[in-house]
């Protein structure tokens, strides 16, 4: 009997070996840094530039269009081809394959209401404007506004939904306006794609309310990884806040040749495209009468440093959205951690003393811990049905 009790105690001890408080415990600075990554989920806010944002009929229309292959020239692909719900709204490929190979990785669609800029280069300042790009892009859906207008207005069901959402008849509308409205419905649906609470969120909230038993349920390896993330790793300098991103753009030493002899200019090209776009928030399709939503667009200027900068992606659900980086060049989280551990600093501009990004020279244990932490950022993905 005593042997049985001993065996049970040993088994329990083994099972919970990784579930205990970190030694030494998080200090006040670390605690503040950790708490800054929450709470989650954030309150939902409608997009003032999109008058149908948050409206159930628009969300339903947007959902229908998101999966509708008639949005592509050859009627053989839809938004969901590269943003597959079964793959956390990515396609699992390094670089997306539409009508041709794309230069970039399909970025995961989730928590998009929190973005200021959209896409790897921030070429759009609203989700609806960004939804126009793949429709027109010759490598993606490649549909002209005229053909889109025709397809929307001649399909009875879609035309009826369109009329209900926008109070307009699609066949009477200008093709450009139909394009914008389709994109606004698509945006309304995409805004509903959100990631749920994660083991990290449970830990973070337990830390906030000083609930030690609940804190101890968070794996020790993840706690060590979290300490690295907010401390020596300086990861939280860019992957900050509840969505684990600054929402801005950085050059992290990833080569950015799209092919031999051609570079992907990243944010620099993104700003140029944004400023030239008739669909930016300074244009006539912004539904925000006060135009306060356009303030950032009014002031954004291309800088030399923007050449080859790409979006700092959110890390929520990062373990489910491989491969990584703007061109999908890093296949696993281990490869990403290795990159930051051994980053080629001469690819980066600036004096080493003043540069944020430096080789971290992580031990194998530290790399494992950091990955353990990143894996705790996964939660269920929900989208409007």
């Amino acid at each position: 009997m005593r042997l049985a009790a001993l065996l049970l105690a040993t088994a329990l001890a083994v099972a919970h070996a990784d579930a205990q408080p970190l030694t030494p415990p998080f200090d006040d600075t670390e605690r503040a840094a950790i708490l800054a990554h929450g709470p989650w989920p954030p309150a939902r806010v409608n997009d003032p530039s999109n008058r149908v944002s948050g409206k159930p009929e628009a969300i339903a229309l947007g959902r229908r269009l998101f999966f509708d292959t008639r949005l592509s020239r050859e009627r053989n692909r839809s938004c969901a081809t590269c943003h597959d719900p079964e793959k956390s709204f990515t396609d699992g490929r390094a670089r997306s394959l539409g009508r041709a190979l794309h230069d970039r990785n399909a970025i995961a669609l989730a928590n998009l209401s929190l973005n200021r800029w959209f896409g790897w280069a921030g070429a759009s300042d609203s989700l609806w404007a960004h939804s126009i790009r793949p429709i027109l892009d010759d490598k993606e859906l490649a549909l002209s506004p005229g053909e889109l207008h025709k397809r929307v207005s001649t399909d009875r069901n879609t035309a009826a939904r369109y009329a209900k959402v926008f109070g307009l008849q699609a066949d009477a509308d200008d093709p450009e306006l139909v394009l914008v409205n389709v994109a606004k419905a698509l945006a309304a649906f995409q805004e509903t794609i959100v990631t749920g609470r994660t083991p990290f969120d449970e830990f973070r909230d337990a830390l906030e309310r000083n609930d030690r038993p609940a804190q101890a349920r968070y794996p020790l390896a993840a706690q060590r990884g979290l300490r690295l993330f907010v401390g020596r790793g300086r990861c939280a300098a860019c992957h900050l806040g509840p969505n684990f991103t600054s929402g801005e753009f950085e050059d992290v030493g990833i080569p950015f040749f799209a092919e031999k002899g051609r570079v992907d200019p990243g944010r620099h090209g993104g700003i140029a495209a944004l400023r030239a776009s008739p669909f930016n928030l300074l244009g006539r399709y912004n539904d925000d009468a006060g135009r306060s939503s356009a303030l950032a667009t009014q002031h954004v200027e291309p800088l030399h440093r923007n050449w080859g900068e790409f979006r700092v992606p959110s890390l929520r659900n990062v373990a489910r959205t491989a491969p990584y980086m703007h061109n999908g060049s890093l296949p696993t989280l281990a490869a990403v951690v290795r990159h930051y551990s051994e980053v080629d600093e001469e690819r980066l501009h600036g004096a080493p003393e003043r540069r944020l990004l430096k080789p971290l020279r992580l031990s194998q244990q530290e790399k494992t811990d950091l990955i353990a932490f990143l894996r705790t950022l996964s939660g269920p993905v929900a989208a409007a049905n």
Binding site: L136, E176, P255, W307, A351
Partner: protein
Amino acid sequence: MRRLAVFAVMLALGADTVAADQNRPIVDAHIHYSHDTWDVLPPPEAIKVLRQAGVKKAFVSSSSDDGTQMLYRTAPDLIVPVLRPYRKRGELSSWVRDPSIVAHVEARLKANTYAGIGEFHVFGADADLPVMRSLVAFAKARKIFLHAHSDADAVERIFKQDPDARVLWAHSGFDRPDNVRAMLAKHKMLWADLAFRNDYAPGGRLDAPWKQLILDFPDRFMVGTDTPSPERWYYVVEHAKFSRTWIAELPPDVADNVAFRNAERLAAWALGQ
């Protein structure tokens, strides 16, 4: 629909296509041609990029120095060779404490022609370390300039070691215009490049304090792209266009000085031309 067509072109190009009819020659005083660039942009291709940008001369340094030598052999009329003390990538943080750098630099100086030593990274009191002192001594002996990516403190220390040194201050030290002004006023042999910073001309228009500073020191400023990675070579043309845009705001003689004459004079002095 026409606007849509323009938008589509912008998407395709992925870059600002605003035309600039500016033919003013440029001397790009801040170019690197390091080993990872050689394969993707062999010397003839690299030279083609510089000529396409309307670059009259380019101050080139590289890790290793072999890159600079290859470019110089390909286009001696275009390339102003500058000796970077780093033998390979990874020495950027360690070189100033590595005594073997001294022999390397000395051997290279004996073997090849150089207008300067740099661009090196040194800050504060590190500028008084023996390796850096050797570089200052080499520059003095050979009458060539030093291209220093440094704070004002390190520049002061260099001038203390050799009051007659000629220093090209990379990125104008990323310092504020009033501090740059103070340094230029104090050191008559200090030049400043404006590479990799936008604050002096946000949106391509000269900022008032910087404009006044350039007008007050018309013989001291030069422009440069800075190409630490191969991909940035594809920005040289864009950067030249940017430079011509704000330079055009200056009186013609000052504009020519900043665009090419100041750099040409410094190179001519160093190369004994």
